[in-house]
């Protein structure tokens, strides 16, 4: 029942908030923090009881739901989903703390926020394709309102774009799911990956592409990425954190859970395209990021670049590459999540995100400066910080298989350094812009949201085995299954 209770924490929180009166903001916040905090604790308990040496699903729960169609409520966790679940509960909790800055319609906000967490956790826990699809779609609804109501700028446009774009991708997936069911009569993901070989190559290709479209919008993969900068820029800070930190991972996780194991031959047929797309994401995202003048937009495009490493590692189908891809998903969530929190801190004080409006803040807000430098260095892949490990392993894995794609991708590393240092320089260095002469340094609540991320970045950067050993067994099985 551990996994159900994991889902229940935010769900009960949401229900409780719905019955609370609108005016008792403190209670609403309290319930939200307790609910996400409880989810975090349950997540840590799962981590504590998880047995890394087992390749099979753990903590399985199964209940028949719609027996006529073989649909069941089936949850489980393995080395591929555990890091994602941990990422979700951690960022879910921290972004909840960061949501204290929301000043209007808190009741609706936190209720939707908790519903969002239910959807994300469900996506990572579901082992029934139908259930997976439902959770996948649930995520869209609260996200649409969270951006559309509490966002800034062209928030309605961005929310609408996000919603419709993702829904369009999901449509392809829905067709794929139907086709899959008609051929196999089951929605059970574990059983489906066993039946993968029964599908003909032609069908595998078609189905892989159908699922690819849904995941590609989420990751996002070039050229399906343009909803991302708009949604990021206009979303409120905590929602940007969730969007970059967790939502994008749903796409990458989809490849690991569905795209590759269910259609191994289709995936291999698509391998070279995947590698090329990864390369384009890395280099193209970096180039576009370099030209941005809005801080949040820059970070958004750096996300496109960083998610390219996931594709590159995935396409390699080597142990190093897949470890790198998984690690990169986790790291990107932590690093970019932290980056968005820091952008939010700056925006709360200055009410602008234009990079050239700042300058010289390094002496004025030293603690904030230290944190921004730290996260920028993590973004550019400095060894000793977690970002490096994922990128390096993705390179190592991919280089043996996709030679020139990897070589071109290495350019992205230099450009990443260029835009990260540009951020540091424009915000922190140079003479102080007198407009900000009285800007206060980062406060304790903001500190608390960022500090755990700093620790995680350091721990994984120095001792990556902490995370790698969780996923090692599952990944080895994954490789054996896909490349069989």
């Amino acid at each position: 029942m551990l996994l159900t209770s994991l889902l229940a924490c935010p769900l009960l929180g949401m229900l409780l908030i719905l019955v609370l009166p609108k005016s008792s903001v403190r209670w609403i916040r309290g319930v939200a923090v307790v609910a996400t905090g409880a989810a975090l604790l349950v997540g840590l308990k799962v981590l504590g009881q998880f047995q890394p040496a087992l390749a099979s699903m753990q903590f399985e729960e199964r209940a028949s739901w719609i027996p006529q169609l073989n649909i069941s409520y089936y949850l489980g966790i393995d080395g591929l989903s555990l890091p994602m679940v941990l990422l979700t509960v951690l960022l879910g909790f921290l972004a909840c703390l960061a949501s204290f800055g929301i000043t209007q319609r808190q009741k609706e906000y936190f209720a939707l926020y908790l519903l969002l967490e239910v959807g994300m956790l469900g996506t990572f826990l579901a082992l029934d394709l139908f259930l997976f699809y439902i959770f996948w779609e649930i995520v869209l609804v609260p996200m649409y309102f969270l951006i559309g109501i509490w966002g800034g700028g062209r928030r309605e446009y961005s929310a609408f774009k996000f919603f419709v774009y993702t829904l369009a991708g999901s449509l392809a997936m829905l067709l794929g799911i139907l086709a899959l069911y008609l051929n196999t009569q089951t929605f059970d993901l574990v059983a489906l990956s066993g039946k993968a070989s029964q599908l003909g190559l032609g069908l595998q290709k078609v189905l892989f592409v159908a699922f690819f479209l849904a995941f590609a919008v989420k990751v996002p993969i070039f050229p399906f990425h343009t909803w991302l900068p708009d949604a990021h820029v206009d979303a409120p800070t905590p929602i940007s954190v969730i969007l970059a930190g967790v939502l994008l991972k749903m796409g990458g996780y989809g490849f690991f859970r569905i795209g590759y194991p269910l259609f191994p031959e289709g995936a291999q047929w698509f391998g070279s395209a995947m590698a090329v797309l990864g390369m384009i994401n890395i280099v193209y995202g970096a180039f576009v990021a370099m030209a941005q003048t809005d801080f949040k937009r820059l970070v958004a495009y750096s996300s496109v670049s960083h998610m390219g490493f996931v594709l590159l590692g995935l396409a390699s189908l080597t142990s190093e590459g897949l470890h790198g891809a998984m690690l990169q998903m986790f790291n990107h969530g932590i690093i970019t999540g932290g980056m968005f929190l820091l952008v939010g801190v700056l925006y709360d004080r200055a009410h602008t995100r234009q990079l050239d409006a700042f300058g010289g803040l390094g002496a004025r807000v030293p603690v904030y400066a230290g944190l921004l430098i730290f996260f920028s260095l993590a973004t550019l892949g400095l060894p000793g910080l977690s970002g490096f490990v994922g990128e390096f392993m993705a390179f190592v894995g991919a280089f043996g298989v996709w030679r020139w794609q990897t070589m071109v991708s290495i350019i992205g590393v230099v450009i990443a350094a260029a835009y990260s240092l540009r951020v540091i320089q424009q915000v922190l260095l140079g003479p102080l812009n007198e407009r900000w002469a009285s800007m206060p340094d980062i406060g304790p609540r903001e500190w608390i949201t960022v500090a755990p991320l700093v620790v995680i970045i350091l721990v994984i950067g120095i001792w990556p085995l902490t995370l790698l050993h969780l996923q090692d067994t599952s990944l080895q099985q994954f490789i054996a299954h896909v490349t069989r």
Partner: protein, 634 residues
């Protein structure tokens, strides 16, 4: 030997402590740093017995995956890295000591020492790394520290810009190195540094050439060789002790060390590349150094030139000699920079025009600076002589054109160094010089200590001490005895350099005949503007790069996102059309049917009036008509 972890560990922990609690520790942070670095020095010395016995001490730990032995990182010390450890720890300690005086008034005092500690820790990790990945990691950390220290006074835009330039330029080189590592991993499966000689046996020579050339590309960036040399002269925007550290012990030495460490991977072809780049850099930078008017810039170009000399030695397959020169140069250059720092500290000037006749006011700085200048110029029996002499000798035995190029280089070196020396310390004192004062003891003490090294440490590589240095790094066959001819040549070069510096550099005599003067002037201008390399890069690389990023961004907005929006608005328009179609055609058709039916119904209404009389009339008429019809038909 897990204790090896202490050598990079102690300064690392110091750095972390200072970063976190620097403000509370205050001035004591400087002494903490000195203590930490000094302790690493003594730990290094404690290892000497093991290293002299030819042992390779190390220890390793599993890093990425228990399954694969490829990712077992380790630290190890052999003769080569021990020598580097001695240089880094001794010079690092002295520079930290000196910085106590130099940085005394700085508001970010403890932050400076935190970075300094981290810098040394990274460099120590780099020279002890036993695995390419660890080496690369430390390599990047060294780059980071140089960035932090060069832009230490970040309120100055120039300093911020210089730091960024250093980091990015070296990172371009690093990508080459990363690629080399990737190829090595996929072709040999091993990234251990300890067994490169075996790896060499198994690999195809072409692959080896490629790998070594790519690794060398990393060294080009780090060691500021042509064409990636542009960051080093700007790096002088950092505090002067940082320059001393970068130019002597850490950072630029890393590139030479990398080539020395991976020397077994180099093939004749790639060594020729090393030779060509090294020699070109040696001469190219020396000519620029002749024309610079900023005391630190002269020294910066001198460093580039000397690094070129080390690369030349490597290209001549004389790895031990390159390393020897690296060490000698480190002591001389640290002393020169600290001396320059002392001058700047005393006069607040670093332009040569404002500095004259300082020898009267800063005697200790004067004497120690002179020793460093003479030593680095190769004056016989000082430290620099032994290393430079050995390289010249090696060149003479292998390629004569290289030898003569190096002779020219040595002459240029002596000339620019003595020009710098004469213009700083001789002549009638300038107004700034008159207010100069000698630096405090905490700064001059390191100068004196370094001067002793700069004068005498070279003996460890001389025949007089039976080439102790070379035996430490594992080379036992050395040419015994001193070649008188070489001594004479070196002396002549120093004297020649002195004469040139005196005539042209100091007394500003025109030595060229009038007919050649325009050419001379033209050459001078070219060198003075650093051969316009920065301008060229700006035009040929940076501007196109920025233009490309803007073009990509526009493409993203207009084309990719434009397509999405076009799809959106297209759907919208389709909806409108459909609505219009519904309204104008479907609706009208439906309504038309209805109307037609209704209108059709109007026709019978004309007769269906509901009044009885017309109905009766119709019946009568009909009956009559029927009757008439029936009768007629019969």
């Amino acid at each position: 030997m897990i204790a090896l972890l202490f050598i990079p560990g102690v300064p690392l922990i110091t750095a972390v402590l200072l970063l976190l609690f620097g403000r509370r520790i205050g001035k004591a942070s400087a002494w903490l740093t000195v203590l930490a670095l000094a302790s690493t020095f003594f730990m290094t010395i404690a290892l000497s017995d093991l290293v002299f016995a030819g042992n390779r001490i190390g220890f390793s730990w599993v890093w990425l995956s228990q399954a694969s032995a490829n990712w077992t990182l380790g630290l190890s010390v052999d003769g080569l890295s021990w020598v580097m450890l001695v240089v880094v720890t001794s010079i690092g300690t002295l520079i930290a000591l000196y910085s106590i005086g130099y940085m005394h008034h700085d508001p970010r005092f403890s932050r400076f020492f935190a970075y300094l500690s981290l810098f040394c820790a990274s460099m120590l990790g780099l020279v002890m790394a036993d695995h390419f990945l660890l080496l690369y990691a430390c390599w990047e950390l060294v780059g980071l520290c140089s960035y932090l220290l060069i832009s230490f006074w970040f309120e100055k835009s120039a300093a911020a810009e210089a730091g960024r330039k250093a980091f990015l330029t070296t990172r371009i080189g690093d990508t080459g190195m990363l690629l080399g590592i990737l190829i090595l991993f996929w072709s040999s499966g091993s990234l251990q540094l300890g067994n490169l000689a075996q790896v060499r046996q198994t690999l195809d020579p072409h692959v080896l050439t490629l790998i070594s050339a790519l690794l060398f590309f990393g060294a080009i960036g780090k060691s500021a060789q042509v064409p990636l040399h542009i960051w080093l002269p700007d790096a002088m925007e950092g505090p002067t002790p940082v320059s001393a550290l970068i130019h002597a012990a850490t950072m630029v030495a890393a590139g030479v060390y990398l080539v020395a460490r991976t020397f077994p991977l180099f093939t004749p072809e790639s060594l020729n590349l090393v030779l060509g780049i090294g020699l070109a850099t040696h001469l190219f930078a020396a000519t620029i150094a002749l024309t610079m008017t900023d005391i630190k810039r002269v020294l910066a170009y001198s460093t580039i030139s000397q690094l070129g000399l080390m690369m030349t030695a490597l290209g001549l397959k004389a790895m031990p000699l390159a390393l020897f020169h690296l060490c000698m140069h480190a002591f001389c250059k640290a002393l020169l920079f600290l001396g320059a720092g002392s001058v700047i500290h005393g006069t607040h000037q670093q332009e040569l025009e404002h500095l004259r006749g300082l020898r009267h006011f800063m005697p200790l700085t004067w004497i120690t600076f002179l020793i460093a200048v003479l030593s680095l110029s190769g004056a016989p029996f000082l430290s620099g002589f032994w290393s430079k002499d050995a390289i010249l000798l090696q060149a003479q035995h292998t390629m004569s054109w290289v030898f003569w190029s190096l002779v020219l280089g040595a002459l240029l070196t002596a000339t620019y160094l003595l020009r710098l020396y004469l213009r700083c310390f001789h002549g009638s004192p300038s107004s700034d010089a008159k207010h100069a004062h000698e630096s405090p003891a905490i700064m001059t003490a390191p100068l004196v200590l370094l001067a002793i090294f700069a004068a005498g440490i070279g003996l460890v590589g001389s025949p007089w001490m039976h080439h102790l240095f070379f035996r430490i790094i594992g080379v036992h066959e050395m040419h015994e005895g001193i070649e008188i001819g070489m001594v004479a040549l070196s002396a002549a070069l120093v004297l020649g350099g002195f004469w040139l510096a005196w005539q042209v550099g100091f007394r500003r005599r025109q030595l060229l005949p009038a007919s050649l003067r325009p050419i001379g002037q033209w050459l001078y201008q070219a060198a003075f503007h650093k051969y316009y390399v920065d301008e060229f890069y700006d035009k040929a690389i940076l501007q196109p790069f920025y233009a490309a990023t803007r073009a990509f961004s526009r493409f993203d907005q207009k084309v990719v996102d434009g397509a999405v929006n076009a799809a959106g608005s297209g759907t919208w328009r389709l909806g409108q059309w459909k609505e219009r179609f519904d309204r104008l055609i479907v609706d009208r058709a439906v309504n038309g049917v209805a109307t037609a039916t209704r209108n059709l119904g109007l026709l019978p209404r004309l007769i269906q009036t509901g009044i009885v009389h017309p109905y009766l009339l119709m019946i009568v008429v009909a009956i009559v008509a029927l009757a008439v019809g029936v009768i007629a038909s019969q």
